[in-house]
């Protein structure tokens, strides 16, 4: 399968990179919410699995860049690790369907769920995702038309859906409500952003009253997760602050002195 070989290629490129160890450390830190200097521990986990985990925890490229940026800023070698982060981001770009859409303009005639390219959602241990995707979907479906909810999210994330455009319809069919909601969380950093975007888009879709109703339902369903989201990000910051105490003391020949890495509050 194309997606698999692409993933293998990314893994290979990162494994063969001169900074392979630092790359793995950075990815490991994001995935496991813990800094690891112990080479044995790092070697015990396959890079491929970490990359899959990284992609699940960061459903968009923006999200990934944000996670990398945030972590790098807390390390005591931010310059070196910023370069490492760039290498990761550059390779990971290829694994995000959106970036491929831009470069290849592929329009699938047969709506195959694109998220099959991801390793399936693991749900219970994603460090940055602070809501249950199933519960959110149920809350929305209980109170509004699922398709209108999708159209609203699509219109906020991409562009106002054009009903007369066959391509827009086909494109909508390749997107899962789940994935669209995730992108919506990502796009709307605060509850105010969400409210503003939903209202604006609903006003521009016809019939407005139907979309205003759907917007209200989406807003109400997503509202409570904003608080969770903020507290989870706080936890991530906390782990970075605390990892000093977890250092195993194992020496790292390549990254001499890194085990003394100090964390500055960002």
């Amino acid at each position: 399968m194309k997606a698999l070989s692409l993933l293998d290629e990314v893994v290979k490129n990162l494994e063969e990179h001169q900074n392979a160890l630092r790359i793995k450390k950075l990815i490991y830190a994001i995935c496991k919410s813990k800094w690891e200097n112990d080479a044995n521990q790092l070697n015990s986990i396959k890079l491929k699995e970490l990359i899959q985990e990284l992609q699940i925890a960061n459903p968009t490229l923006d999200y990934l860049n944000h996670s990398l940026d945030k972590l790098v800023k807390t390390l005591n070698k931010p310059m070196e690790y910023a370069l490492v982060a760039d290498v990761i981001a550059e390779q990971m770009t290829r694994l995000y369907p959106d970036s491929q859409e831009v470069t290849q303009q592929v329009v699938k005639s047969n709506p195959v769920p694109q998220s099959l390219e991801y390793k399936p959602n693991l749900g219970w241990d994603e460090p940055l995702i602070s809501y249950d995707t199933f519960e959110l979907r149920v809350e929305i479906m209980k109170y509004t038309n699922p398709l209108r909810a999708k159209i609203l999210a699509y219109s906020i994330i991409y562009h106002l859906l054009d009903f007369s455009c066959q391509q827009d319809w086909l494109s909508l069919k390749t997107k899962e409500l789940d994935v669209l909601l995730h992108k919506l969380f990502d796009k709307c950093k605060t509850l105010k952003d969400l409210e503003y975007n939903l209202q604006t888009v609903a006003k521009n879709l016809n019939p407005t009253d139907e979309y205003t109703q759907a917007a209200g339902a989406v807003y109400q369903a997503m509202k409570r997760y904003y608080a969770n989201r903020e507290s989870n990000q706080y936890e991530l910051e906390n782990f970075v602050m605390n990892f000093e105490g977890e250092i195993t003391g194992a020496k790292d020949d390549l990254d001499d002195g890194e085990e003394t890495c100090q964390i500055r509050p960002s």
């Binding site: 769920p113 399936p120 979907r137 699922p146 069919k173 139907e210």
Partner: protein, 330 residues
């Protein structure tokens, strides 16, 4: 009948349109709540965003009908033909779909909560992201289970669903929510359950041979006598689960979490358990011929009377474990 005439008569209070011909008509966004279209021919009709709540669509021909975003809550669709219909994002909450033909239909992100699906044929249907909570798939006594052969249930929400004895062989259930679902005696051989949520589910006597369960969340599941031969259980979380008498020969279980799992009398021959966590697991009388435990954590595990003589224990942690002869490992 043309659509304008139908809408006019409906607006005037008429609701009975039994057996009428509405083939390929355009009823986009039409409000037809409670209408009777029993046996009507709606083949290829455009019913996108239509309101058909509580409509009587028994035995209606809805082959290739466009029902994207249609509201069909509590509609009666028994024995309707929805072959190849598009129900993308449609709402079918509490709809009666008994014995309906839904083969190859697109139900992406559809709401099927509390729908009656007994005896439906869903083979080849796309149910990706569909919500099926409270949906009824089978009658307890009669063999009247929905046919899901070849269906796509990726990320479908089947929380609490009763799928006892269902044929789900080779079905894509990756990332699906099967929390608290009943899958007793279900045929899940070769099914894709990677990353699925199966916590507190009932899988006793289920056939999971060759299934892909990599990364699945299976905490506190019942898997007694289940067949997991050749299954991929890499990275699975099976803590506190019950697997007594299960067949797990040749299963791939590296890095799986089996802490406190009960594996009494389980056939674990040739199993790959590298770096798995088996702390406090009960492996009494388990058959472990040529099982690979390298780097595994077996702290305080109970291996009493287990057949361990040809297992690979290189690098395994056995502190506090009860060994086959009853002694405790230092």
């Amino acid at each position: 009948m043309n659509p304008n005439e139908l809408l006019k008569r409906y607006a005037a209070g008429e609701t009975q349109f039994v057996g009428i011909n509405l083939r390929a008509v355009n009823l986009f966004n039409a409000d037809l709540i409670g209408i009777t279209l029993k046996g009507a021919d709606l083949n290829g009709a455009n019913l996108i965003f239509s309101y058909l709540s509580r409509a009587d669509l028994r035995k209606a021909n809805l082959i290739r009908a466009k029902l994207d975003g249609a509201i069909l809550n509590q509609a009666n669709l028994t024995a309707a033909n929805l072959h190849n219909a598009d129900l993308h994002g449609a709402s079918l909450k509490g709809a009666d779909l008994r014995s309906a033909d839904i083969t190859l239909a697109n139900l992406l992100d559809a709401n099927l909560m509390d729908a009656d699906l007994r005896g439906t044929n869903l083979s080849g249907a796309n149910l990706t992201g569909a919500c099926l909570r409270g949906a009824n798939f089978r009658e307890e006594k009669r063999i009247y289970t929905a046919n899901l052969i070849g269906a796509n249930l990726h990320k479908a929400d089947l929380r609490g669903a009763n799928l006892t004895g269902a044929n789900l062989a080779k079905v894509d259930l990756s990332g699906a929510n099967l929390t608290e679902a009943t899958l007793r005696e279900a045929d899940l051989s070769g099914a894709n359950l990677a990353g699925a949520k199966l916590g507190n589910s009932y899988l006793n006597d289920a056939n999971l041979s060759g299934a892909n369960l990599a990364g699945a969340y299976m905490r506190n599941t019942k898997l007694e006598r289940a067949n997991l031969t050749d299954a991929d259980l890499t990275n699975v979380d099976l803590r506190d689960s019950l697997l007594t008498d299960a067949k797990m020969s040749k299963a791939k279980m590296s890095r799986a979490n089996l802490s406190r799992t009960r594996l009494i009398k389980v056939d674990l021959s040739r199993v790959d358990l590298r770096e798995a966590n088996l702390s406090e697991a009960e492996l009494i009388e388990a058959y472990l011929a040529r099982a690979d435990f390298s780097g595994a954590n077996l702290r305080k595990a109970n291996l009493a009377r287990a057949e361990l003589s040809s297992a690979n224990l290189m690098g395994a942690e056995l502190a506090g474990a009860t060994m086959p002869d009853g002694t405790t490992h230092e």
